[in-house]
């Protein structure tokens, strides 16, 4: 029995197809988010990956900023609860989730059952999010995936003090022209993201184990900076970007189970 979780974010669409509430039958990530054909593409890709058909899916939960606009869902949940659930499935001991996505950063406090008990999100500002990293990578004429390799080479991260993406852009350009080494600049950019998210985490209260999820978690430069900032080990899974979709697929499984229970 298949259930689907689809996480439609500002920059990407992600799907997880779950079999019997336990096994991940397929996943997909498409670099196109809400308002595009990304969600449909992601759905098509996950079905192909699992060799399944749309009619085999018993329940679909949509999450992410585009959750309300996706026509094919049976229900929707916030990405907050879905990330909490997805992370708990992979790392049952996690009590704090730091999720940095394309346009927002969230910190979730989980109880021992994996249920979200509290959360904090970034304010109405792109600093400290994936968009910030995209803009900075653009200035440096790098692909965003190259940032972590460059950051690893740094011994002395540059200080990026501006709290605003636009001002930080000018600051990075000034540092470039002043001759700051590229690795130090990239490490400084990663640190700047980590510092902002760490402040959110402290607001919620950092309880170990701590895990990072969301697209930005793939960047080891940010993870390393976060570990330094918070003084704790950061757990990470290759599925970091898919945690929201995974949580949604688990909630979809619950919905099927509840439906079956109520019929009996």
């Amino acid at each position: 029995m298949y259930t689907l979780g689809i996480d439609i974010g500002s920059a990407t669409s992600k799907c997880i197809l779950l079999r019997d509430g336990k096994k991940i039958a397929g996943s997909s990530v498409v670099a196109a988010g809400t308002g595009t054909d990304g969600p449909e593409q992601a759905l098509k890709m996950v079905l192909e990956a699992a060799g399944a058909d749309r009619k085999d899916i018993l329940y679909v939960i949509a999450t992410g900023y585009g959750r309300k606009k996706f026509q094919g869902a049976d229900g929707e949940m916030s990405e907050l609860s879905c990330h909490a659930r997805g992370v708990h499935f992979v790392f049952p001991d996690v009590r704090t989730v730091i999720d940095i996505g394309g346009q927002d950063a969230k910190v979730l406090a989980l109880n021992e059952k994996g249920r979200m008990m509290n959360f904090a999100m970034n304010d109405k500002c792109a600093a400290g999010t994936g968009r910030f990293l995209e803009v900075m990578a653009g200035i440096l004429k790098m692909d965003i995936s190259e940032l972590e390799r460059e950051a690893e080479k740094s011994a002395d991260p540059a200080s990026i003090s501006s709290t605003c993406t636009v001002f930080a852009e000018s600051e990075v350009i000034s540092q470039l022209s002043a001759g700051t080494a590229l690795p130090d600049l990239v490490a400084g950019i990663c640190q700047s993201v980590a510092v902002r998210a760490a402040a959110l985490a402290r607001r919620v209260g950092v309880r170990e184990a701590v895990c990072m999820s969301g697209g930005v978690a793939k960047n080891a430069g940010v993870r390393t900076a976060m570990e330094k900032e918070l003084g704790v080990k950061i757990l990470f899974s290759d599925m970091a970007q898919l945690m929201g979709a995974l949580g949604a697929s688990l909630y979809a499984y619950d919905a099927v189970r509840d439906r079956e229970t109520s019929v009996q």
Partner: protein, 412 residues
């Protein structure tokens, strides 16, 4: 841009509290405009200035905060903020101040006009930005400003020394107004106003406390509209009568098992902060569509003043939410949460109000911990529509709802 267009609704019953309160709020502006047209002096007055003083003296005053909220709720916030920003005021300044300063220059706003002032009455028990805002008005219009300084109280209770400090200023304000306007203070009239203000306040606080019932007999967003009368007219006989009607209606609603909250009440929250006026419908709908009723807010109760004499009045104005210490403010909110069976708190991180938004992260954390309930916050503004994101609001409210649902045992 803020919200657009409203659905047409049937005219309310003229005997209803809603109709009466709406008429009193509107009449405050027309009364002042008529007084001005007759050649009388009118003032602009801060919302937490002792309204008993102009009321006793028979002076007509308008409330810039109330006007700014009305302009913002009717879609004029961005236009007015842009006017004052063009004058050089930073967009970091309170949007009520920006709208008011813009109105002083433009002298008209189709959303809510009011006569220009002959004097301004300022009291900093609600915020200190107001001092500079009113000083600028006084300077530009070359009119007197009367300031009552009620500093933030770091202690839990209001001391006798504080009362003396405030009382001397109240009398000074009265004497200045007598000299400037030619009106005379009457002890007898003051007692009448005090009694009427007390009647309004008692009925108002009693009405808001009806949310102790489950389900609540009213939608908390009603309070945000009705409180305009508590701000502008609590010392008037018709306000006391309308508030008593409101209380009667809420009691009747409870007895009949009905509510002005037009949805099934699944969750009950406290809303913290000034309303996000430019997005009132969006913020209200985001709650109502999920069965979340905002059953209480300190913002509404703040305008209920109950006291017995002149000294008591001075003490009451020193004991308002933005002037009291964190522990006292926290305890008042904890009481509201417990009395009204609140399951979660939604905090408006209001870009306009640095004071309120500044102390709220720690205070809401303490309240959430004491009551064992979740707290979520969203970014917004009391009057500048540009500081709000609907999608972000929606996610936060949904997250709060999912935690409240989990706390009921509905999701594990």
């Amino acid at each position: 841009m803020g919200e657009e267009g409203k659905k047409s609704r049937p005219a309310p019953d003229p005997n209803s509290a809603k109709f009466k309160l709406g008429r009193i709020a509107a009449k405050a502006y027309t009364d002042a405009a008529e007084a001005k047209a007759r050649g009388e002096m009118v003032g602009w007055c801060a919302s937490n200035f002792p309204v008993e003083i102009p009321e006793t003296l028979g002076l007509y005053v308008c409330y810039p905060e109330n006007q700014a909220a009305g302009i913002a709720a009717r879609g004029g916030g961005e236009r007015m903020c842009s006017i004052s920003e063009g004058e050089g005021y930073s967009n970091d300044i309170c949007a009520y101040a920006r709208i008011s300063l813009a109105y002083m220059k433009a002298k008209e706003a189709p959303e809510q006009d009011m006569p220009l002032p002959d004097f301004v009455l300022c009291c900093n028990n609600i915020c200190n930005c107001m001092i500079k805002w009113y000083e600028n008005i006084a300077k530009e219009l070359d009119i007197p400003m009367i300031l009552i300084d009620i500093p933030f109280n770091p202690d839990y209770e209001v001391s006798d020394a504080q009362v003396e400090y405030i009382k001397a200023q109240f009398w000074d304000a009265i004497h200045q107004l007598e000299d400037y306007t030619g009106k005379k203070w009457s002890e007898e009239r003051f007692r009448e106003v005090m009694e009427t203000s007390g009647r309004s306040s008692r009925a108002w606080i009693d009405a808001t406390s009806q949310a102790k019932h489950i389900p609540s007999p009213f939608n908390g967003f009603d309070l945000l509209n009705h409180m305009a009368v508590m701000v502008t007219a609590r010392g008037k006989e018709e306000a006391a009568e309308a508030m008593e009607t409101l209380l009667k209606e809420y009691r009747e609603n409870h007895e009949k098992g009905i509510s002005t909250f037009r949805a099934e009440e699944k969750y009950r929250i406290m809303f913290e902060g000034i309303a996000c006026w430019p997005w009132l419908r969006v913020t209200s709908q985001g709650l109502k569509s999920r069965g979340i009723n905002m059953v209480t807010t300190i913002y509404a109760d703040a305008f209920g003043y109950i006291y017995e004499d002149f000294d008591g009045m001075c003490r009451a104005y020193a004991d308002v939410p933005n002037a009291m210490n964190l522990e006292h403010a926290r305890d008042k909110r904890i009481r509201l949460c417990r009395d009204n069976h609140v399951e979660g708190i939604l905090v408006h991180t209001n870009r306009s109000c640095k004071l309120w938004s500044g102390f709220m992260p720690e205070m809401s954390r303490q309240i959430g911990e004491a009551c064992g309930i979740p707290v979520a916050s969203f970014d917004g503004d009391q009057a500048d529509p540009r500081n709000f994101s609907e999608a972000q609001y929606d996610t936060r409210v949904q997250g709060l709802m999912e935690i409240m649902e989990g706390n009921k045992g509905g999701a594990e």
